[in-house]
Symmetry: C2
Subunit: 657 residues, 2 copies
């Protein structure tokens, strides 16, 4: 007689196989192999299908996102919003069951996964967030925040550098409520893991400060459950290494070919026989399985009810904390920020990274949930929150995170912090090293997370460190990302506008900030939030338009002066954020860039790639379409043609065309 | 009485401090702290200042590139081409001593470093290359290839995920001629490594299959030298962990502040006193130190002479191998390739990844040095060299490398292979995951290395895997990189053109290839090597120009048909490589894109960012400026507006403007 647990696991496996077969696309291997793991985790988790946003819930991240059907099967059986019709629509247009799990798209999915390794780093971010919120809000008798974070991954995730980075930091930070479950099936797409991944994983985790538990039989639900219980006793994060068989019980068990292709109808029939599965009709869930999961879900709901009771008492006993918590969770930006006189109080010569430093500290005062740090460059990025302490094992309430020299994990962890709720995450490094973290920034954008990326040293103005440290093509890379906004402010006031815009955005914002001092302009201001605006408007139709961002606004203004002497009028446009400019009304855009004026010059000390959208076939772009060079910043600007003369020449060239 | 070794180390330290002081910019901390390490390594290395390209030389990679003055001091003292004037010109425009070491720029520098972690991965690539070349060319009594690779790194490199990825692979591959020396000074920019990097590094290396040796006193040259000797006895790669003091002997010893700022004249004076340095005048090298290094250099030269003698004998005894080796090293592409009838023998419906597979195998036949692989996606990328074996511990002559799920390390290792000489490296993954490896591709471009990046699944044509797997902004990112070329071929013939172009380029080439089948066109051909060319030319001035790449060429051609029915003529342009098109003569470009025709439409199923350079203010771009979605490919194309109708509408819109 099969236990209800085994029957449930078989159901998950068959559901996954059948949905993938119907879609004729998907990854059955891990979904089938790790079904007992998923069953055990979810049974051990605090969660509530009827209240997917329960504050006290444990978090589950499927880092191996290709096993999406595993998660959808769990969501279906537990009674989240996934119907059997949704399961049948796996991987179809508009369905709730896309190829990889998507945050905001499917209730119960805590993070968008698929790009390997990042789920682990996001889970680390969630675990950091939990400790921080607990430190802020828990008081005697009220564990408002007391949840675990579970992340399920395979070999692929663990081979990725970003996972190692996050694992190393998690060990340093002793995130003992984090449990990683490693589905060790020893098979990758190209064959055995022996080919390329022969390390001692348990020893590696231990070296990184983790507790390690081994489960030799991935089909032993009890053993997995016991491991999950042990994990709660450690002061370290835990890795549970579970030996599994990819595509267990199918004719392709243990083979690479079961990883990413449907089994085929015949193989499914054989698999059903192997499992002793009685139902020929596809998409059958035995009634006793549904009943079992209903019982599990009821347990979930009653735990949620206990929590709600506690929260009601908390509200009474700790009204101020409660109010603050609600405000944090709401995420609304206090109006006081926009009215803070410090916000646009800039004058004289100041680098935008210094302006950013001042602003970030203003923000930190108004937004208790603001937390973040740098990939070991805080003294250069100027992103330390001066009035707050370090986040550490000893001080979980600290708001300055030392991410270490780990740009990619930093960004993915920031995503995890943002996903957790109640917090506003920022991270920082040199602009050129945005390359290292780009895959995580893409996920910020895809998930619509308002993470702030504070990227300083934004051009050849880096100077002596040379071409490896001077960004050239990075702004083009960033601007081409959908659902992200990139600001390159010209002075402190525009930096303030950039921050205000970032705070109110439903997407990530990148701030590209100067190392070197820049003037503060009369004409700049909050209009920068429109993305592009007029800095100098001549009478009548101008002879040309000069548009620029950041440090090059100065060149454009000075070039306009020179052109005036030579008898030509120039409209000067500051264009700190092209994404926002593109969203303005046609009328507004026409006023800033009158279509009749074809003599247009864009100036930016980085790659010109992308600027022709505004300069057209008749305009010119003064830019740097080569790598930089090591020399004092002023020299590099001159040698690479970022001078007033070059702008004037370009303008004259297009005016006379 | 100070030993000559100690005096030499002091000289290196003072030179570094003084050059950085003069430049008023640089990183004295590690250069000073690890001077004894550099001294010991270089003394143990096979190298020859008089012959920097000596085939038998050991390789040295300064992964912690910010300690560049350490390397320049060594190059100066050994008599490489770095004069004292060059040292004085540290970090100045055009000097041989830029902020971070630059390959091709400074003789003796084996790799451009600075972006942390990548030097380690490049060293792994060099070590792989050595074993491979040894397997191919060494015969009894003739160790043509028998060199070690040394890489010096700090905490920052080891925190980076790319370093872990490469370390894990190196352990699996038992690259026992690789020695990593870890300058463990326990200080990062934000403070103690305790803040963010508390793992047991020795245990981590051991878990990854490395031999680990500890040197507790980083000033003990003998101990370091002994460790370097022990390293040669293992069948594993070796990590030597050397405990050092950042900024040793300076008033800022052990402090973060010594990492990246000049010491200041007063501190240099104190440092000199601490060292017992007798020379007040800056940039003094004691004559006995020069003499000492002259002796060392003579030893180097005599080893090189022995090697040359062996090679002369090898030439006699193994004339065929010798000739092949010379041909490999020369790197010239055999003319036979261009004449191989298989090269453009395409017809019918075929995906460009399939075409690439065929072509890659043709290339492998003609180019014995062609070696590479995939980040565990070879069965999808179709990049396996069918007639050749796997590269492995047992078979170093194999030409298919299993990189594991490590895109970033894969690319950086490919750079290392290319740097070694005699080999042509390729690597592959899905186009969307070029994000993971971009920092290494940037270094390929900066170093001018002709690594081939074979990136398949090049659009929403990925289909069901959904937005995490569908590239959108990746082509814009790639095209904006200086000194790289990006091909998105429309069919097999254009794929052949892309490969021919890649082989002859002095820069990396990215091939963006389709998952889905595409038609083979009559009009396509080797003109694709011009980057853009006419596929259909109407009589007289066309009413519009339709330009497209890859899978969208079909849409452009069909749209032209529809437009013809409606009475409009369209010039159809295939634009597989905009970088090459931009390099053509003005006349040629005018013939392809006549400036009188302002009604222009670009079609590409990815972000439109960048296309306005060719469509201008009056044209239109049919593109996808949002993230993709999970559904069958055909559905996604339709839903996201990548249809003939949409192209026709866009064309009519701009014609009637």
């Amino acid at each position: 007689m099969k236990t209800i647990e085994q029957l449930s696991v078989d159901t998950i496996r068959i559901l996954a196989a059948e949905a993938i077969q119907k879609a004729n696309s998907g990854h059955p291997g891990m979904a089938i192999g790790s079904a007992p793991i998923a069953y055990a985790i979810w049974k051990n988790m605090k969660h509530n299908p009827a209240n997917t946003k329960w504050l006290g819930r444990d978090r589950f991240v499927l880092s191996a996102g290709h096993a999406s059907m595993l998660e959808y099967a769990m969501l279906h059986l537990y009674g989240y919003g996934i119907s059997m019709d949704d399961i049948k629509q796996f991987r179809q247009w508009g369905s709730k069951t896309p190829g990889h799990p998507e945050y905001k798209h499917t209730a119960g999915v805590e993070a968008t996964t698929g790009p390997l390794g990042q789920g682990i780093a996001m889970a680390v971010g969630m675990a950091i967030a939990e400790t921080h919120m607990a430190a802020k809000y828990n008081v005697d008798g009220f564990n408002v925040f007391d949840n675990r974070t579970y992340v399920l991954c395979g070999d692929g995730c663990l081979m990725e550098g970003v996972a190692y980075e996050a694992i190393s930091l998690a060990g340093t930070l002793k995130l003992n409520k984090l449990t990683l479950i490693y589905d060790r099936n020893q098979i990758t797409i190209e064959g055995s893991t022996e080919l390329a991944f022969n390390e001692n994983i348990a020893a590696r985790f231990a070296a990184c400060g983790w507790q390690v538990i081994s489960v030799p039989d991935g089909n032993n639900i009890d053993a997995i459950s016991k491991a999950l219980a042990v994990t709660k006793l450690s002061d370290k994060p835990t890795a549970i290494i579970v030996e599994t068989k990819i595509g267990y019980g199918t004719p392709k068990e243990g083979k690479s070919s079961v990883h990413g292709s449907p089994l085929g109808d015949e193989n499914i029939a054989v698999t059903k026989a192997n499992y002793g599965w009685e139902y020929e009709a596809p998409f059958t869930v035995p009634e006793e399985v549904y009943a079992h999961f209903r019982t599990l879900a009821e347990n979930c709901a009653s735990k949620n009810a206990e929590y709600d009771e506690m929260m009601n008492a908390y509200k009474q006993v700790q009204p101020e904390l409660y109010a603050q918590l609600m405000s944090d969770l709401d995420g609304k930006i206090p109006e006081a920020i926009a009215n803070d006189p410090e916000l646009i109080n800039f004058s004289g010569s100041v680098s935008t990274r210094s302006a950013s430093s001042k602003l970030l500290n203003v923000l930190a005062k108004h937004i208790p949930g603001l937390i973040g740090g740098s990939a070991d460059l805080a003294p250069s990025n100027l992103t330390r929150l001066a009035d707050f302490e370090d986040y550490s094992v000893e001080n979980r309430a600290g708001r300055n995170i030392h991410f270490g020299v780990r740009e990619f994990a930093m960004a993915a962890i920031s995503n995890g912090i943002a996903l957790y709720g109640g917090l506003r995450a920022f991270c920082s490094t040199f602009l050129v090293f945005v390359d290292y973290l780009k895959p995580a920034l893409r996920l910020s954008a895809l998930m619509g997370l308002p993470v702030m990326y504070i990227m300083t040293h934004d051009s050849i103005g880096v100077g002596e460190d040379g071409p490896t440290h001077q960004p050239i093509e990075q702004l083009a890379m960033l601007r081409s990302i959908p659902n992200a906004q990139v600001f390159r402010p010209a002075d402190g006031k525009e930096t303030a506008a950039a921050y205000l815009s970032a705070l109110n955005a439903q997407c990530p914002t990148v701030l590209a900030l100067s190392r070197q001092n820049l003037p503060t302009y009369e004409a700049t201001g909050m209009d920068a939030m429109k993305g592009g605006y007029i800095i100098r408007k001549p009478k009548g139709t101008p002879d040309c338009i000069l548009m620029a961002t950041g440090s090059e606004l100065e060149l454009a203004i000075k070039a306009a002066d020179v052109l005036a002497v030579r008898g030509y009028t120039a409209q000067v446009v500051s264009m700190p954020c092209i994404e926002l400019f593109d969203k303005q009304t046609a009328e507004y855009k026409e006023s800033v860039l009158p279509s009749v004026v074809r003599a247009r010059v864009a100036v930016e000390a980085l790659s010109g790639y992308g600027w022709h959208k505004y300069t057209g076939l008749d305009g010119a772009v003064v830019s740097i379409d080569r790598f930089g060079a090591s020399a004092p910043a002023k020299t590099v600007f001159e040698k690479l043609g970022m001078t007033v003369d070059c702008v004037v020449d370009a303008a004259l060239g297009v005016i006379k065309k």
